[in-house]
């Protein structure tokens, strides 16, 4: 991560009603104060997060061809086009996949010359569904506990539609 994502500073969402009635109302995800119950608070926060992510349906109409040079770049574009967050675990995996290429022969080739855009996007949605449907909030909380920057990979529930280009 060498530059900020648009949603990075919008981790906590207000409880105001959603303008899009098709989308479930987002929960308030409170910041947990650092105290003796901070671990319980983290588990509760992870539970609210996971319960919410589980409700978001995977988009079924996908026809866009999205050019991309990196996995995280593709993830970013998908969030903007489909107006959905991606799961923390998906964001982490995309980062790992970009790191995976460092030092390879094809390192500097644009990624969409190696993996076809349709296939790449389909791959991410399949993985996203796994993370939304099967992840345990206890597991999430244990990861967040040891990842001081986990907020950076927990998307705002309404990603900003900024012109980042």
């Amino acid at each position: 991560m060498k530059r900020s994502f648009p949603w990075e500073n919008q981790i906590d969402v207000s409880s105001s009603s959603s303008p899009n009635s098709l989308r479930p109302n987002p929960p308030t995800i409170p910041n947990s104060p650092i105290d003796t119950n901070s671990q319980d608070a983290l588990i509760r926060r992870a539970e609210m997060y996971q319960d919410y992510m589980k409700q978001i349906p995977i988009p079924n109409h996908r026809g866009t061809m999205i050019p991309f040079t990196s996995w995280m770049g593709l993830g970013r574009s998908m969030k903007q086009i489909y107006e959905q967050p991606l799961h923390y675990l998906t964001n982490i995996l995309l980062k790992q996949w970009d790191q995976l290429r460092i030092g390879s022969e094809d390192e500097y080739k644009p990624l969409d010359t190696i993996v076809h855009p349709h296939k790449a996007e389909a791959t991410i949605w399949l993985i996203e569904e796994i993370h939304r449907q099967t992840s345990s909030h206890f597991h999430l909380a244990s990861l967040w506990k040891v990842d001081p920057m986990y907020n950076g990979f927990v998307d705002s529930i309404f990603p900003t539609l900024e012109h980042t280009s």
Binding site: L100, R101, K119, S135, F138
Partner: protein, 179 residues
């Protein structure tokens, strides 16, 4: 919050990997393998590893994996999917191909990430359609075969004493598809 120092990124990687290794300590999956020139041997300490040899082995491994084509036609045989690790092994058997070290690693992480979830006790195909599950494995496998840097792979292997289990399946018998 921004990780701009590559050394910092490397440290993050290693610390995460260390956690993964802890999770594996309780599992005894070691196979006995015959001695041979290219057989990867388990080791007990990072200090005893010849890093150059590990990178060379990773290059050979990655080259082998890169040359294996992903199956284009699915066998369309319904698979009982209880967990990801089981599915990965079933696919290896059905298609006669080894799956990448990183695909096995991800399957293990996906199984682990279900512990404590509300549908933990359900078999996986009660939640994820088995065709989607199989499709996911092959799409992920394609990423790992096509996009993995051997140097990065060797770095991961430094912290994983069990990597040889997967390497030996690919390099010791490259011309035959056992199991």
């Amino acid at each position: 919050m921004l990780v701009s120092d590559s050394e910092t990124e490397s440290d993050d990687n290693l610390s995460k990997i260390a956690v993964a290794v802890d999770g594996k300590q309780g599992e005894d999956e070691a196979k006995r393998s015959f001695s041979a020139d290219e057989v990867a041997r388990p080791f007990n300490s990072k200090q005893s590893v010849d890093r150059d040899a590990l990178v060379k082995l990773a290059k050979k491994y990655q080259k082998h994996m890169q040359n294996k084509p992903i199956p284009t036609s699915r066998l369309n045989k319904e698979i009982m999917v209880v967990n990801w690790k089981g599915l990965a092994k079933t696919l290896e058997r059905m298609y006669g191909q080894p799956l990448h070290y990183l695909t096995h690693k991800l399957c293990k992480e996906w199984d682990k990430s279900r512990f404590g979830s509300k549908n933990e006790e359900k078999p996986l195909n009660a939640i994820i359609n088995w065709r989607d599950a199989e499709d996911t494995i092959w799409k992920v496998e394609a990423v790992h075969r096509l996009c993995t840097s051997p140097i990065h792979l060797a770095m991961l292997w430094l912290d994983d004493p069990t990597y040889h289990i997967f390497v030996n399946e690919v390099i010791t018998a490259p011309s035959s598809s056992i199991k």
